[in-house]
Structures are given as structure tokens and as C-alpha cells.
Amino acid sequence: MPRRRRHRRIVAPPGFQGYKPYGTVGESAEHISLFYEEYEAIKLADYDLLKHEEACELMGVSRATFARIYESARRKIASALVETREIKTVFGNAVLDNDWLFCHNCSAKFTMPSNLTEQKCPVCKSDKIDFLNKLKI
């Protein structure tokens, strides 16, 4: 039995459901499924310009696994462009992680349940906290 696949943590799902080529001749081949974690890998590495070491930590996978996800994302996008195929985003092995906060003072990560009103770090009571998804390293 193969080893189970770990969930890849992603901060937010892509803001689109897919991309379609236009101005093509004839019917295009079947669509390509781009996983959420592949979109996230492209976003972290090429849009936020993170190093792979930093990006893999945010996604909760090893650096080698991150490189594999990133490579598969680039290959899928390239074959969609070359073969004029439609891209559709599907959930893949991702788990959404949008409500985590980060303390700049003690580097603790934590959630803020809706019944808490005080916006402070639960460990060091510092107010220098940020949403993990807005953090620019």
C-alpha cells in the first residue's frame, strides 16, 4: 500500500474556476485539471517570490514535495498553452487554512475563535499580530 498523501495547506482558493483559450480553430481537446495546491505553489514561488524553503513550510510539506507540486503546476500550464486546452481548477489534496494568525513578537501561530474579542497574541499578549495569509516574508 502506498504511503498516504499529506494534505497541502493553502491560504486561499484561486479567485477563478478556470481559463479558456479563445480564437482557436476547431474543437479543443479535453480540459486540464489544475489542483488548488498547484495554484498555491505558483502563487507562493512566482507571485510572492518566496524561496522554496519558505514556501514549503507555509504549505506544510517538505521542500522536495513542494518542488514536485510546483513542477507539475508549470507543466500543466505549459501543456494547456501549447495544446490550447482549457484549465479548470479542482480541489486536489489541499486543506484551506485562512484563519491562522501569526505573532511577530514570539512567532506563535494561533486561531481566533469568534467568541474572543481581544485581538492579542495568546502567549505574549503582544498586539503585533497578522493574518498568516497576508504575511510577506
Partner: protein, 105 residues
């Protein structure tokens, strides 16, 4: 308010456990009195569902905040449902004592 810390042993000198569902012990601190209580985790060796069981135990004990090294997807879902705050500390070498003193500031 009560805070739970995952611990590898029974006592404040024990090491902090980085797992939540499969932590050996839970240290529960009462913020008002400063008393610490230790509970053994009976679900640590289950083959599945340890995160859910541990989350339910936290709700039973009336804990408002849980400090651990990481939470599994199911534990996250349940703790969110019970409105329990999750805190992740990634420095593995600290003992329960140092975390408690950090909490008191």
C-alpha cells in the same frame, strides 16, 4: 479561563509534546488560581480518530485555549466548532514550566 498544554509526561518539568491528538498528557492550567492539573490521554494509541477524541475531551474539561506543536485537519475542524483557540509553538525543546512562565508574561 483554562488553558491546555500538550505534555510528554506527568509534571511541570516534562517536555512539551508537539502532537495534539497523540500527546501523552494534557496539562490544564487555571488562569485565575494558577493551579495545574494533569490528565493522561487515553486515546494516544488509537489507530484513528485520536484528534477528534482529544478535541472532545478539551471541550469536556472546559478548556478555552490549547497549546500544541501542530493540529491535524480533523482536530482543527472540531476545535473550531467548540470555539477553542489553537496555539502552535514550534520550538520543540521547551518544558511545560517555561511555557507557563511565558503565558504569565
Amino acid at each position: 479561563m483554562k488553558t491546555a498544554i500538550t505534555s510528554k509526561g506527568n509534571g511541570t518539568s516534562a517536555q512539551f509534546d508537539l502532537r495534539f491528538g497523540r500527546a501523552a498528557w494534557f496539562c490544564v492550567i487555571d488562569d485565575e488560581t494558577g493551579n495545574t492539573e494533569f490528565f493522561e490521554n487515553d486515546c494516544a494509541n488509537l489507530s484513528g480518530g485520536a484528534g477528534i477524541k482529544a478535541s472532545e475531551k478539551m471541550a469536556e474539561l472546559g478548556v478555552a485555549k490549547v497549546i500544541s506543536g501542530d493540529f491535524g485537519p480533523k482536530a482543527k475542524e472540531y476545535l473550531n466548532k467548540f470555539n477553542i483557540q489553537m496555539v502552535i509553538l514550534s520550538n520543540d525543546s521547551s518544558s511545560i514550566e517555561t511555557i507557563i512562565s511565558k503565558l504569565k508574561g
